[in-house]
C-alpha cells in the first residue's frame, strides 16, 4: 500500500465524558481507494466518520486517545469547518440538507477549500451533469425533496466543498434499492472523474461490498475483521451475518452462533 492519505491510529472516542463509542480503531485509506466500513447499529460506524470529519460543540464528544492523520497532518478533535476546508467532506446520515433553502442555495452554501469562483462554477456544472434531476429542481425548497433527491443533493453539497476525501454515511438508509444502486453508480463514476478517495459507511453489506476496494467490519467500537472486498465477500461470517447467505445451507444450530461470537472476541 502506498503512503496512506488518511490514517487512523488506535482511535478512542468518548461521548459526554462517559460513554466510550470507539475503542482503539486503526485503519488506513490510500489515495484513490474506496474503503467500506460495515457494522450493525451502534457499532460506531457513524462515530468514526464524525470523528474524522470533526465534532461539533453540542455533540459533547471527543477523541481521547489515538490520532487521525490526513495528508500527514493531525486532525483529531479539529473543528469541522477546518477539516472540510482541508479537503474532507461528509455526506451525513441525518440532517443532510438545509430544509428551508432552495436546491440552488443549498449548493451555494459550501465554503470550498480552493475557493475561486471559476472552480465553484465548474464543480456546479459537474454536479448538474451527473445529477440532472437537481438541475430541474433548482428552485425547489430542499425540505420538499424526496429521499433520493435529498441524498443526491447531500452528495452534491459535499462535492461543492471540493473534497479530496469523501465520507458517505449510510447511503442506502431509507431508499429503494434501485435508487441506491443508481446513486452508488453515479458516485463511483464521479470518483473516477475527480480521482476522489472515499470512505463508505454501510449497514447494508451487499451495497458496500459491490464497490469497495477494502473493508473493515466494526462491532462494539472495535474492528473485528478487515480485508479486501473478495476476502470479506467470501468470509463465512460475513456471508451469514451480513449478506444473509448460509454457507452450509439449511438451519444452523445455536452452537455455531456462539462460535461466531468467540471469533469476534478473538479478532477484537
Amino acid at each position: 500500500m502506498s503512503e496512506p492519505m488518511l490514517s487512523v491510529d488506535k482511535l478512542e472516542v468518548v461521548y459526554q465524558r462517559a460513554i466510550t463509542a470507539l475503542q482503539g480503531i486503526s485503519l488506513g485509506v490510500a489515495p484513490g481507494q474506496i474503503v467500506g466500513v460495515l457494522g450493525t447499529n451502534g457499532a460506531g460506524k457513524s462515530t468514526l466518520l464524525r470523528a474524522i470529519s470533526g465534532f461539533h460543540g453540542v455533540d459533547d464528544a471527543r477523541v481521547t486517545e489515538g490520532t487521525i492523520r490526513f495528508e500527514g497532518r493531525r486532525i483529531e478533535n479539529g473543528e469541522p469547518h477546518r477539516n472540510t476546508r482541508a479537503g474532507i467532506a461528509l455526506v451525513p446520515e441525518r440532517d443532510k440538507v438545509f430544509p428551508n433553502l432552495t436546491v440552488a442555495e443549498n449548493l451555494s452554501v459550501p465554503v470550498a477549500s480552493s475557493g475561486s469562483r471559476a472552480d465553484m462554477s465548474r464543480r456546479q456544472a459537474l454536479v448538474f451533469h451527473h445529477f440532472p434531476r437537481l438541475g430541474d429542481l433548482r428552485a425547489r425548497t430542499a425540505g420538499l425533496l424526496s429521499g433520493g433527491e435529498r441524498q443526491m443533493l447531500a452528495i452534491a453539497g459535499a462535492l461543492m466543498c471540493g473534497p479530496k476525501l469523501l465520507l458517505v454515511d449510510e447511503l442506502s438508509l431509507g431508499l429503494a434499492p434501485v435508487i441506491v444502486s443508481d446513486i452508488m453508480q453515479k458516485l463511483v463514476q464521479i470518483r473516477r472523474e475527480l480521482s476522489l478517495t472515499m470512505i463508505v459507511v454501510e449497514q447494508s453489506a451487499a451495497v458496500a461490498l459491490a464497490v469497495v476496494d477494502y473493508g473493515y467490519v466494526l462491532e462494539n467500537g472495535r474492528v473485528v475483521l478487515d480485508g479486501d472486498a473478495t476476502r470479506l465477500r467470501d468470509h463465512p461470517d460475513i456471508r451469514e451475518f451480513y449478506l444473509g447467505q448460509s454457507s452450509a445451507g439449511g438451519r444452523r444450530s445455536y452452537r455455531t452462533v456462539k462460535q461466531y461470537r468467540r471469533n469476534r472476541r478473538w479478532y477484537g
Binding site: E12, V14, R17, A18, T20, R62, T64, E65
Partner: protein
C-alpha cells in the same frame, strides 16, 4: 427522589428508607445543631445582622417556590417579581380598603397567588422554553401595571403604608419577632417543598422536565401537573410577597421591578438548579451580595468616588457574578458543595476523572 450515596456503610434497602427526610444519625445531629444555631442567632447578633437574616429567610421562601417551578418542574418563569407584587398588593389593598387583619390578608394573598398561578400557567400548556419565559415576563409587566394603576388612581402615588400585624394584642415590630416569623415561614416552605418532591407530583414534575412527550405517554397528566406546579409556586411566592409587605410596612410598585425577577432567577442559578438546598444557598448569597460589595468597596482606596453610584456598582458586580456562575459553574453553589462532599466521602481515594473528562 433519588439521592446520591451519603455515607459509607449506609444502605437504603426499602422505599420507606429511601423516602426518609433524615437519613443518618449524623444528619440528625447536624440538623439539631443548625436548628439551635438558627434559634439563638437573633439573641447573639446585632439588629442589623438579624434584619439581614430576615431578608435572606424571606428570599428563601420565594427562591424555593421558583426552584419548585423551574428547577424541578422545568417551567421557566421570568415573572416572579409580578407574583411577589401580587401578594404584597393584595395585602396592602385589603388592609387599606377594609382594614383586614393579617390572618385574613395572608390567605387572601395565597388565593390571589393561586389564581395568578393558573393565569401564568395557562400559556405553559401551549408554550415551552423561551416562549414560556417571555409570556411570564409579559404577565409581570401586566401585574406591575395594575399595581401602579391602583397606586395612582387611589392617590397613593408614593406607595401604600401597612401597619405591622397584631398578634395576641401586640403589634409585631421587634426585629427578633420578625426573624422568628420568617424563620417559621421558610422552614414551612422547605417542608412543603421537600414533601411535594417526594410525592407523586414531585415525580411527575421530574418526568415532565425530562421529556414532556414521554411523560404524557407514561400516563402522567402533563397539563394538570404543570398547572399544579404553577399554582403551588405562585401561592408560596404570593405569600412571600405579603410577608414582605408587612415586614417592610410599605408597598410600592417600584420595589417589584424586572430586576427583582432577575435576582430570583439568579438565586436559583447561583444556588444550583434542581436542588432545594441550592435555592436556600442562592437566596442567602444574593441577599448578602450587595452588602458584601459595599464592604469590599469601602476597603478599596478611592471608593468615595463611587458612593453616589453604589447601586450601579452593585448591578455591574451582580452581572459579573451571574455570568461567572453561568460560564464556570453551571451547577451552582450546590455543585461546589457536592464536590467537597464527594471529596471527603471518597477520601483518601481521590476521584480520578476518566481520560475523556478533561475539557
Amino acid at each position: 427522589m433519588s439521592r446520591l450515596p451519603r455515607a459509607s456503610g449506609h444502605f437504603r434497602t426499602s422505599y420507606a428508607q429511601d423516602f426518609r427526610l433524615i437519613q443518618t444519625p449524623l444528619e440528625r445531629r447536624w440538623l439539631a445543631a443548625l436548628l439551635v444555631a438558627l434559634l439563638t442567632f437573633p439573641f447573639i447578633a446585632s439588629p442589623f445582622l438579624t434584619d439581614l437574616a430576615s431578608q435572606a429567610l424571606l428570599a428563601m421562601v420565594g427562591a424555593m417556590a421558583l426552584m419548585l417551578l423551574t428547577g424541578f418542574a422545568g417551567q421557566v418563569s421570568l415573572g416572579h417579581a409580578g407574583l411577589l407584587a401580587a401578594g404584597a398588593f393584595t395585602a396592602g389593598i385589603l388592609f387599606r380598603e377594609t382594614g383586614a387583619p393579617f390572618w385574613m390578608t395572608l390567605p387572601a394573598a395565597a388565593l390571589v397567588g393561586a389564581f395568578l398561578g393558573v393565569v401564568f400557567g395557562l400559556p405553559s400548556l401551549r408554550l415551552r422554553g423561551l416562549y414560556l419565559a417571555v409570556s411570564t415576563l409579559a404577565l409581570h409587566f401586566l401585574v406591575a401595571y395594575v399595581g401602579g394603576e391602583y397606586e395612582s388612581k387611589r392617590g397613593f402615588s408614593t406607595g401604600i403604608v401597612i401597619d405591622p400585624p397584631v398578634i395576641a394584642g401586640k403589634a409585631v415590630t421587634d426585629p427578633r419577632a420578625w426573624y422568628f416569623i420568617l424563620l417559621t415561614a421558610a422552614v414551612l416552605t422547605l417542608l412543603v417543598c421537600l414533601n411535594l418532591l417526594r410525592s407523586r407530583s414531585g415525580r411527575a414534575w421530574a418526568a415532565i422536565r425530562a421529556n414532556e412527550t414521554v411523560a404524557e405517554a407514561l400516563g402522567i397528566g402533563v397539563a394538570a401537573n404543570k398547572l399544579l406546579a404553577f399554582v403551588i409556586s405562585s401561592m408560596l411566592t404570593s405569600l412571600a410577597g405579603a410577608l414582605f409587605a408587612y415586614y417592610r410596612g410599605f408597598v410600592s410598585v417600584e420595589a417589584f421591578s424586572l430586576f427583582l425577577s432577575i435576582q430570583y432567577v439568579a438565586m436559583i442559578i447561583i444556588g444550583g438548579m434542581g436542588s432545594v438546598l441550592g435555592a436556600i444557598l442562592g437566596a442567602v448569597f444574593v441577599t448578602l451580595f450587595p452588602y458584601l460589595i459595599e464592604a469590599v468597596m469601602q476597603l478599596l482606596p478611592g471608593a468615595g468616588a463611587y458612593a453616589g453610584v453604589m447601586f450601579a456598582v452593585n448591578y455591574a458586580a451582580f452581572g459579573v457574578v451571574m455570568i461567572l456562575f453561568l460560564v464556570l459553574e453551571p451547577q451552582g453553589l450546590v455543585g461546589i458543595w457536592r464536590r467537597v462532599q464527594t471529596y471527603f466521602l471518597l477520601w483518601p481515594f481521590k476521584h480520578k476523572p476518566v481520560a475523556g473528562a478533561r475539557r
